[in-house]
């Protein structure tokens, strides 16, 4: 680890100000991704701006037809929240299956979403549950937020303050865990909003994406058989030493079908 200056931001405005004024600053949330990167000397920011002391950024609530998760809420809190379990059980379940207990108690939704790791679970939750990413500057639809491998629509000085999930008629998340890391090799969020359906896939591509063919098929008839034979092309998918693109493509269909099976 290289040396850096540590700041404890008093509020979001303070954090944002420091982000634009300092030399090469980074926000520190749970540190589950950022700190290993620093320890392995893969990054050397001049300043870390810790959001941990900002009370406004913590907690979950149900507001109208939305579940609101503030940026610094750890995964374990979302998983254990009675409100979330009642209003949007698929989200609680998604959060409860991230990594391991230590990671769930430190890692935050803001850090996860800002990082846009191709194998992270929350991106599938955001896109599948038609979420809005709220920052100190604007509101961004999840569909427009995740742009690519570790790439988001966030601009300089922008701080995620909360994520607002739209409560669906019903939804389910299925994940094939990476045997080493626990991340998603393939994660599929299927959600039904009245006559509309959303199918969002993480783990398989450079970033989360939707499967319009499956969505259309489910909108016609919301049943496992509607999508069981929809094959996904491996062409745009990722392959690595653990799972080939072809295998991931296969898993997407299996897990989408299983998600629907769990819902009907």
């Amino acid at each position: 680890m290289h040396n850096f200056n540590y700041h404890r931001a008093a509020d979001v405005a303070d954090a944002s100000g420091k982000l634009t004024s300092l030399e090469d600053p980074k926000i520190l949330a749970g540190g589950m991704t950022l700190l290993p990167t620093l320890k392995n000397r893969l990054a050397a920011p001049s300043d870390l701006i810790d959001l941990a002391a900002i009370a406004d950024l913590k907690g979950v609530s149900v507001e109208g037809d939305e579940v609101v998760v503030r940026a610094m809420t750890p995964h374990a809190v979302v998983a254990a929240s009675a409100e979330v379990q009642k209003a949007l059980p698929a989200l609680a379940q998604l959060a409860g299956n991230i990594g391991d207990p230590a990671v769930r108690h430190r890692g935050t939704i803001g850090g996860s979403v800002a990082n846009s790791d191709p194998a992270a679970d929350y991106p599938a939750g955001c896109v599948g549950l038609d979420a809005t990413i709220v920052t100190n500057k604007r509101k961004i639809a999840a569909d427009d937020f995740f742009l690519g491998l570790f790439e988001t629509a966030l601009e300089e000085g922008e701080v995620i303050t909360s994520v607002r999930f739209k409560i669906p008629t019903r939804a389910h998340y299925m994940k094939f865990r990476h045997p080493a890391s626990g991340y998603a090799v393939v994660g599929v969020m299927v959600a039904q909003y009245g006559s509309k359906a959303r199918v969002a896939v993480t783990g398989a591509g450079p970033c989360v994406f939707r499967l319009s063919e499956m969505e259309a098929a489910l909108e016609k008839s919301f049943a496992p058989s509607s999508i069981a034979n929809i094959k996904v092309s491996a062409e745009q998918l990722m392959g690595d030493i653990h799972c080939s693109a072809e295998y991931r493509a296969h898993l997407i269909t299996v897990y989408a079908r299983r998600a629907v099976e769990a819902m009907v």
Binding site: H2, N40, P179, A180, S181, Y183, H242, C243, S244
Partner: protein, 774 residues
Amino acid sequence: MGEFAIGQPVTRFEDPRLLRGGGRYVDDLAIPGMLFGQVLRSPHAHAKIKSIDISRAKAAPGVAAVLVNEDWATSGFGDLPRAEGKKKRDGSPMYRPHFPALAKDKVRYVGDPVAFVVAETVEQAQDAAELIDVDYEILPCVTSVALGSEPGAPLVWDDCENNICFVHLEGNKEKTEEAFAKADHIIKKRFVITRVTAATMETRGSIGHYDKAADRYTIYTTLQRALNFREELAETLNIPESRLRVVAGDIGGSFGMKSGVFNEVGLVLLGSKVTGRPVKWVCTRSESFIADAHGRDNVSDAEMALDKNGMFMGLRVRNLVNMGAYTQPGTDAGAFSNLGTLAGVYLTPAIHVDVTAVYTNTNIMRPFRGNGRPEAAFVIERLVDLAADELGIDPAEIRRRNMIPPEKMPFQTGLSFNLDCGEFEQVLDQSLEMVDYKGFEARRAEARKRGKLRGIGMSYTIEKAAAPGYEGAEVRFDRTGSVTVLTGAVTQGQGHETVFKQIVSDTLGIHPDEIHYLQGDTDQVFFGEGTGGSRTAALGGSAVTVATGKVVDKAKKIAAHMMGVDEVDFAEGVFTARETNRTLSMKEVARAAMSPKNIPQGMELGLNATAAYHTTKQNYPNGCHIVELEIDEDTGQVEMDRYVVVDDVGTVLNPLLLKGQIIGGISQGVGQMLMEHIRFDPQDGQNLTGSFMDYAMPHAEIFPHIDIKSHSVPTKTNILGVKGAGEAGCVGALPAVANALVDALSHLGVKHVEMPATPERVWRIMQEAKAGRA
């Protein structure tokens, strides 16, 4: 004595200390004035070092020294310990490369130490290491053992032809060929045993401290055998052993991996000598993947000859074994010292094994839990299942038919093992009953309805433990009658403290709270070898027993003298004068033994005893594992559902610790069979699995309840009757899980599943089998 007696499930005395953070591992030690070291490692698998420029690093803040090969060469230190004694096929001596602590002219694996920076802080050492400029000329490399010995393969050592380190032959070739000529069936298969890493919870580490005034070296380090380590290291340093002290604190797992004298041990000592201050180096987790020794990694071409009744007539095995880039004593042992396991528990009359050890551009190897046993067990037990399948005989039945019956003991197998005892069929039957073997097909049919392919697999494996050797023990009574017990063994988590205290408590009647266990410091422990090869219960346990026996003999004489009788009886810590009601406790006698007025004339004061116990024969733990698992037909994911073990480890000293050993071993065997795998890029030799994000370790959640029973057949090869237990779990697990996987897929015509059976691999096997059938 009572609840602490031998055979009781005593909970571990070391746990409260270790679990509360009271352990003292190398990284917990700090010596005033201590500096920190950082190793600069080769980023290439094979390259010429054209030049090294250390000037910028030397000038960096806080740097005390920057060492390169030249510094090692001129220090008076010699090679790190080197393997010796084996021969090549033509009878010429094995290839033994020089082994300096820092690479000379060439690097030979990714991670090969090139330079060592010593600085005031770890961070300063890291910063400075980044400032060393090394100019490499990259050379072609070879990491695979199968490719390494092929003509034309890149040479790891220019003057080592075909990369062949040595050849080892065992068994009877002629008889084996005759058996194959007469056979009704021949089963042939190539088995690839993957490379894995020990991934110990505590990484390796060392503190070197050269005391100039005393001209004496001290090394605090992670190891398994402190006294053997001292012998080897003293030779490297070119000093008498008496000028070297080796200290091991708590060791957080080793499994064979930490048993070598690694480069960094030499480097912290040289660093200390050069700077005049103690130097600490502790391996980071990321570094450990490229800096630790690895385990296994071989290819077996195996054949079994059978008659028409399914009786094994002969076994022929050719092994290629990966040696990595350098060899040390012990790094090569996995290639030959446990081949006896290949003979299994079977009558097979004719066996021949031909082993070729091959250098490659990979990390050095060390024993890893089983050290050749799991590899051999995998080969024989997979072959047996393949034979059962080919001949249409039930796997349990074909094993039963070929098993060595107790009345044939002692039995000389077709390889080195000369078995003294064992009741294999009884163990098999007990396991079959525990798993409800008869009910399996119903469970398979029920699983099928859920889209799951259920399989059952068994292994019956045997291994050698406690190879002939010795161990020392010392029992010291304090003036007040409490005890310190010392042995040469070094626990790495096995629980030596608990078992040794049990033995002392049981034999002397002293409460464990009044017994202190001390190990791992060569200035304190007078004699012994150390821990490894499932030897400590047999050798260390026996040594402690002999020492306490000497104490009792002497104490009896003192007690008789004190009570004015000719003879006394001793039981449960109490001496009783016959035909009187007078008694003395062990503690009373121990206190009294400190005063000349209490002891018979001519006797030495005190109640201390030492023992140097040795054996000439190894023992043969054996056991049956049966596992049931289910494969998800859609995804290839494997889930174990039942796991039963019946083990014969002779006398059981502590059933709780025994279970811990078996379960730990099983988890490492299952890990290798299902997920663990060190992989190198075949082109550039980079380690592709250099972190826990890519190197998958089994978590507790993947295991079903593991049901373990003991069927104890005590051995006469040591005084306690114990057989080794440390490696047995791992030995049995690999083939049992493999056999269950193949069984689950057998309806598709699948005959073998390579390790690791990752979901994708299993899914592909199913796809291919279905395509082939369509």
